[in-house]
Amino acid sequence: MTVSKVTGQRFTFVRPSALPGFGITLGFATTYLSLIVLLPLVVLVWRASALGLDGIWKVATTPRVMAALEVSFMTSALAALLNAFFGTLVAWVLVRYDFPGRRLLDAAVDLPFALPTAVAGIALAALYAPNGWIGALFAPWGIKIAFTPLGIFIALVFIGLPFVVRTVQPVLQDFEREVEEASATLGATRLQTVFRVVLPALVPALVTGVALAFARAVGEYGSVIFIAGNIPFVSEIAPLLIVTRLEEFDYAGASAIAVVMLTISFVALLIINSVQALSRRRYEGA
């Protein structure tokens, strides 16, 4: 349907409509978008491009930047993986089971979206510090959580969880009960039904949720810096390094790291979009 709409109006920009206000609303929206979002990003890329590709490469491959990127990406990836597991579990429990407090739990999932990151940061730091409620449990065994990459990981799990839950949950909600029944009538055990029929159907949503959580985690700043300890080469994350460079008035260096991070976020975005497009084409016949 959409195709015929487009081909039918090949040479016009907008399909004629009886409704007014297209020009002014689109004009305002694109102008505002360009000024607030696009212009700053373009300037960033322009600023970084003054270094040239090899200049960016040089900045990005200095040991300290490499270490920071590695810390950011490793902890983000591990946190996203843990969230893949627990996010799916939480979504499953919220959709499939009825128990007292279910709605409260459902609402609580969005807490990381609502709680300012700095608040989450100092709360986590207080909890996981060696003298904090949780940190004190591990301290006797010589395990330090806060002020190590483990602390960063904890903060990124906190930040990423709702992304996974909120992308998996609606898909699970809409999953037809009949499909599971069909599997049962064909002789599958419950375990086979879950692992061969239900979970595979969740994969596109899960990949999307994990990629969103990962992208968010890579750029996360507020909730991490308080718990990270920020030791160069150990627990310094890439966004913090940008701030450090800025404070040293090394704008080019900051821009170069920023562009590397932006590129990686866009790759994540691209992955999300292609996974969604692929699964739509294959499984929904769009």
Partner: protein
Amino acid sequence: MRKASQLGDVTDMTDTTFDFSGKPIAITAEGLAKSFLGVVAVNGIDLQVKPGELMALLGPSGSGKTTLLRLFAGLETPTAGRILFGDEDATHLPVRERRVGFMFQHYALFKHMSVAENVAYGLHVRPRRLRPSGAEIRKRAEDLLELVQLPGLGKRYPAQLSGGQRQRVALARALAVEPRVLLLDEPFGALDAQVRRDLRRWLRELHDRTGHTTLFVTHDQEEALELADRVAILNRGRLEQLGGADDILDHPATPFVAGFVGDAVRLSVSVEAGWISLGRGKVPAPFQFPAGPAELFIRPYDLTLAHSTGHGTFTGKVVGTRRVGSARRAELILEDGLPSVEVTLPLEHAVLKGEELHLNLLTMRLFPAR
């Protein structure tokens, strides 16, 4: 759009290598009942589908027919009664051990699996010692796809198929587990009229070939009466009548069946001294029919024009006519306050509005009023 081109070959059965082994068994419900949170869906049903029989469960929505089917499949647990598969008590047999081929109304195909994977699923999930080899499973899936006339479509995904094709994939998937019975929930419900008719014939032929004991649910009486060996009519969770098309149409056992099947019109009449008063005339009631209020069911082909007036005839006033196929139907009012009835007339018999016709009643379907 693709449907039309696929339809040509739906009905001609080509020989396939599919081998259906195993003797068909009877399935029996004994006093079967099911209620959901106090709401009764199935209310004590006794019913047997004979080995190899094709039976339809017919009823209005909410009559309990789908629940009954799901009880047979083990998708619901009965609140009372027993289910027998052959002589075996299957009442508490878990669904996965029942070996029923269940086809869902919207097919419930696995969207993320290819057609071949869908069909092979039931074999893949078998315990290792009962599982055929990979090559054997592939072969079986191919044979089944050929049986349902979708050869070569194994690599497609369900979303890439038409409605009719999906239905046949669902059937192939159900057949792959060598089911002891086939249970089909509104098998044609999700298809458009033309595809429906073709697939109906095809299903009948497939049944005759494979000989499965088959129970299917439908709300379409034409479908039930045309396709099934016997039809079970359900209403409010109870079995109203079980019989062949002739039985059901000509000898409805209950007022509900008389009203539900055929385009019957229900007239409230009263019986006095063996006669029913109808439109300035009288019709004899059946022998020893109790006096008092009664319900009379009239179908268009139950009425004929009377050649003379007299005993057993009555009159109706024409309020409209319409053309139905090769005949003409006149809509008549017998008495003010009664719903209009229809009579089939030969095409050459033109009638005018307001004209009075003398009528005979050929078949008497009379029940005491409840």
